[in-house]
Symmetry: C2
Subunit: 330 residues, 2 copies
């Protein structure tokens, strides 16, 4: 299954989204246009704008409101990717060189700012202060989530709770806003707006957990980055946290995590230990456990839609997105 | 004269601004609080929020609107400083170590994002879509101005025009928005809103030109950075552009600019040539000419206020800001 299956429902609307994204790329000076085209060109799945559009379709869909909202959501997502790649010093994304790799950190910082502000400008076209407010809040959540991640790097005893806090901020929040804004702009009732928000939150959480699972058991070629890349950077995701909680024998002297926690190591030793730690998590049942948790969140996303009365092909597509998110292999 | 002279007019209001800035620093987790307190703590002149408040005082001042607007303006300014320092790899600002110096580029990028989004959230408290739109546009202008600057680095034949384009985006736009939003939220008539915007634009331009003049003839201790720091990074500001246009003998073989434009050099040679170029501009009448242009913009800012009918102590203070901007030595 590909994203295109459920996106077919909003194929025409996506054409408008793409054309507004292209317009953003028609900048005042040529070099900026080149930069924007590089990051806004094809390659993205456009999953978040598809959610906004599908939710809109369940209610009173208005292209003058839902299209700019969908564009804003995609711009915000793109901006955060540009800054994330800069923060992580990543050199490739979706098979292309990153902005920081091609033009340097300075340009990537400013281009991300440009995209953030373009998204804020787009959302103003809705003229809906509640939606604009929600959007600004989400912008803040993304940055806070990433800062929380840095705050807990190499913290071996953090437990699961900080993980759930940071992924809600850094990932689920944008899925939730993509869905919720589609409902608000479509004139949904307040209980429906909340149900749709819950759908987005649970879907985003399932999405992130699967991302973290694929970092351990995906095909590195499909995933597009080396296995265990998070743990190598000291970021403890759900499979690692479950392993440490349920499967690590407390204090076992030959366990790489035990050795990492105890001593100080040269960077070479540390790299070796982290490699061993990745294999240890991969071989443990923690990866399967994490996948089960993602499935439980997917179920929660599906249940949230039960509270939405209308039955429609848009609603069916929103259910298919849930299946896609937990079944994908990259 | 210090900023405090004209700020006295809005002393009480500034207390509220400071307390809302402090609230932003009361973050959900301690480390973020520490980062925010570092950048939002004292040290800033708060010139931009003072402008918003003073303009508000000329019309129907409403603390529920003007205070969050002033806070938003200061947050946006602070965010752009955090990212500018990251882009320029600056290690100090206002006598303190920068965020990128203390915590690294990754943290500085994310903290800047957090501040940008906090500013966007604050401006939503005005519930005025026009002001929110203006604000988002300004956010984009700042990034575009900086990107334009990078685009023209080491471009010796650019002429003055790109300079005026980029400083309008990177500096004047925020002064203009600080002033204009105060007027809109105070219920000023449309011609007055435009006059106040013109005031901000001209004031911001005078401010930036003086900044660029001080980079050549200021006291490095007062200015807080080495002389000619822009030119050393390949950024051509007004004194250099005027020198090249009016005073450089075309093709004079011993002129450092001629040598820089012609050959390729080792980084050591280039540094020496840039140092010589800085001295050449300093000794030329171009610095005085640039200062005269700043004064002309200051006069334009004063004239813009003539169109504003009310005579008030707030209006007097807005005039004093103009004097301060062109008379300051740092």
């Amino acid at each position: 299954m590909t994203v295109r299956t459920f996106a077919a429902e909003v194929e025409q609307e996506l054409v408008d989204v793409e054309s507004q994204l292209l317009e953003i790329g028609e900048a005042d000076f040529p070099w900026l246009g080149e930069l924007l085209t590089h990051v806004l060109g094809s390659g993205g799945k456009r999953a978040r704008p598809v959610i906004t559009l599908l939710v809109g379709k369940m209610y009173q869909y208005d292209p003058a409101l839902h299209i700019p909202m969908a564009v804003a959501v995609e711009l915000l997502h793109t901006a955060s990717l540009v800054h994330d790649d800069t923060v992580d010093e990543s050199s490739t994304r979706r098979g292309q060189s990153t902005v920081n790799e091609l033009w340097g950190t300075d340009v990537a910082v400013l281009l991300g700012d440009y995209l953030f502000s373009s998204s804020a400008e787009k959302v103003c076209f809705t003229e809906n202060v509640r939606v604009i407010q929600l959007f600004s809040r989400t912008l803040r959540d993304l940055a806070e989530g990433e800062l929380r991640e840095i705050d807990r790097q190499f913290d071996w005893t953090q437990g699961e709770q900080p993980y759930w806090q940071r992924i809600e901020k850094k990932t689920s929040s944008l899925f939730a806003t993509a869905a919720q804004s589609g409902a608000i702009l479509g004139g949904a009732s307040e209980p429906e707006v909340q149900a749709i928000r819950d759908y987005g939150l649970a879907l985003g959480t399932a999405f992130q957990v699967i991302d973290d699972v694929l970092d351990f058991d995906g095909d590195p070629f499909d995933v597009g980055k080396p296995l265990g890349s998070d743990l190598l950077q000291g970021v403890l995701t759900l499979p690692t946290l479950i392993y440490l909680d349920r499967y690590a024998q407390a204090g076992a002297a030959d366990n790489p995590f035990t050795i990492l926690q105890r001593g100080t190591h040269t960077s070479e030793e540390r790299k070796g230990l982290l490699g061993a730690a990745i294999s240890t998590v991969r071989r443990s049942p923690a990866v399967r456990d994490a996948r089960d948790i993602a499935k439980a969140y997917a179920e929660r996303a599906r249940s949230a839609l039960v509270g939405v009365p209308t039955s429609s092909s848009a609603k069916d597509a929103l259910r298919e997105i849930v299946d896609f998110v937990v079944e994908r292999d990259r």
